[in-house]
Amino acid sequence: MRNFRILIKFEWFNFRADKGLLILTMLTLFAGIYGIYYGTTEIERQRENIKTLDVLTAQNVEEMKQKFPGDADAGDIGYYHSTYAIHNPDSWASLSLGQRDINPYYIKLRLLNLQSQLYDTDNINPLKVLSGNFDLAFVLVYLFPLLIIGLCFNILSVEKEQGTLPLLLSQPISLPLIVGAKLTFRIMIVLGLALILCLVAMLWGQVTPDIRILLWLSVVLFYSLFWFSVAFLVAAWQKNSAFNAVTLLGVWLMLTVIIPALLNVYVAVKQPVPQALDLTIKQREVVHGGWDKPKQETMEKFFALYPQWTDTVEIQGRFAWRWYYAFHHLGDVAVADLAGEYQQRLHARHELVEELNFLSVPVNVQGIFNAMAGSDLPSHLSFLQSATQYHDSLRGFYYPFLFKQVSFTHADYDKEPRHSFSSTPDFTSTYTGLYKLVISVLLVFFIGLLVFRIKQ
């Protein structure tokens, strides 16, 4: 134990004196701080934008009130007035932005056909989303492994190459002790850095303090240990530094880029999602076909599905709002199967990835982070569900005016339902992911130990 402490102390001296390592560590620290800054500002911006939506809605209501000073036909309001379905970021989202930059976090809704509105996107700069988010999760998932590789690729080989190993081994200490001390020192550095960054991110992002603090830190701990185990496994092979560096970088590239990219191809082939275009084409056909069909036919079909609105007067003349909304509504009904299938397929894609993520620890960890932060695909799908329900509730609100022929007054605007959805963390995925991660760590570590024994 005494010698262990001495070795660690001199590792510190060596580390302190090595400009390259210091630069590497500082770079990671800065990258981490930038990642935290970026993540928090991005989420802050989304929150600001969401707040603005309330203002926009209020403005829209004012405009409506001016446009329709007296009692209005609810049909006009439903047509001209818009509100928003809102996907509030979870407080943890600033740590892992996930898919929140690609998928819209609000949807502008009118009383019209839902399916033609549900998939509208926000303004997205494709180069930016292609390049991805420089958030804390990126720093932890991509850059920390590189830091670990930079610190550990020559953990043993450098002693051989600079010739200090014989002199060191002529002291009463064993090789496992030396490797153990060196690894421990580096683990302390890396975990210390990770802890600082994570705590800063949690404080800065003002996350909800719950079990996720513990979970997040455990994931970071085990993920770092995974890369240390990989570095240990490669070091145990006792090859030269150049070989180790190339091998480790190769493993990194394999796990963070090549395997995920191949998995992505596999998932796309295995779970194609052709429904999107079909859906968009079909809903147009049905909705616009509504104009050409006899009104009575449309209404009968609608009443068959929604008998609660049946007790109304027959439609006279060229146009009536309730008929208009009925065929819009029927447009949604006609593509409900396709829409359901579309979302189901997306779920299936996500689940397939979850099944296969044992092939790449970084994919697993990124998945855990996104699941914890509620910024993954299922969160978005839940939001779409919630937006659908909101649209239903809008219909529930407006239909009595339309079908019972009640005028819409200024007081009614306040009664219109508003929407707000906050994604919830997916703890099931988190625990499964963590469990897989721990297994990966143990597996690699024991293989490393085995190789170390054999090669010694």
Binding site: F10, Q162, P166, L167, L168, L169, S170
Partner: protein
């Protein structure tokens, strides 16, 4: 006197070569044993076996009565080692290097003591607090000597220790060895240097193709005869 360094039928077989063919050797405390031989004769193999860096194919090496292969860490407490080319941590100073190795050996010297060892080994005082990265081979060798001396070991293993030193430093080194042997240290030195061997050696062994072909006590020989004898063995 105690036997502190011993080899019993020590053999080392590499894949295609029998590097050491059953060495029997006993060295007592205070003795200086010089091992002469060509490159590849098995000198370094012998030292590495005593250090436990390699495992014997058969037979055993003992340090202070303990079998090396079975007490691989324990025996390091009794020996000090100076390799042919002392390599140190380039980013640490000479002083820090010495502090590291001494503390690993169990000696926590203060700065004054550390300086004393370095200066005694011949390192200029101003160099001690510079990084080793800028040292010459001879300066590193001197730090290596200081590390060995500061360990106060019963056995000192030397592998061509003077190969990087100038004549003056080399001479000082000889004096140091004699002083250590007087204090009771057993010294085992693999070397090419016939004259130095004659000067300091209590006994001189000649090794050829993994065999100790002759052992002479220094008193029996003068330098000329040793050289002739050595060359004889080498040419047969």
């Amino acid at each position: 006197m105690d036997i502190v360094l011993e080899a019993k039928q020590l053999k080392k077989q590499y894949q295609d070569k029998l590097a050491l063919k059953g060495l029997d050797l006993q060295i007592k405390a205070g003795e200086i044993f010089c091992l002469l031989g060509q490159n590849g004769a098995g000198k370094s193999t012998t030292i590495n076996l005593f250090l436990g860096f390699i495992k014997p194919t058969s037979g055993a090496a003992y340090i202070n009565g303990l079998e090396v292969a079975a007490n691989i860490t324990k025996i390091k407490e009794y020996l000090a080692y100076i390799p042919e080319n002392v390599m140190l941590y380039p980013n640490l100073t000479g002083l820090e290097n010495l502090a590291l190795f001494s503390s690993l050996a169990g000696f926590d010297y203060d700065k004054v003591q550390l300086m004393h060892y370095l200066i005694s080994a011949g390192l200029p005082a101003e160099a001690a607090s510079r990084r080793v990265g800028g040292y010459s081979k001879g300066m590193r060798q001197k730090v290596g000597i200081a590390i060995a001396v500061a360990k106060h070991a019963k056995v000192l293993l030397l592998d061509e220790p003077t190969s990087g030193l100038d004549p003056k430093a080399s001479n000082e080194f000889s004096e140091l060895l004699l002083k250590l042997s007087e204090a009771g240290t057993a010294i085992f030195m693999a070397t090419h240097d016939i004259f130095r061997s004659k000067e300091v050696g209590t006994r001189v062994g000649i090794m050829r193709e993994g065999e100790l072909v002759d052992v002479l006590s220094a008193a029996e020989l003068d330098a000329n005869e040793l050289e002739k004898l050595y060359l004889n063995y080498m040419h047969v």
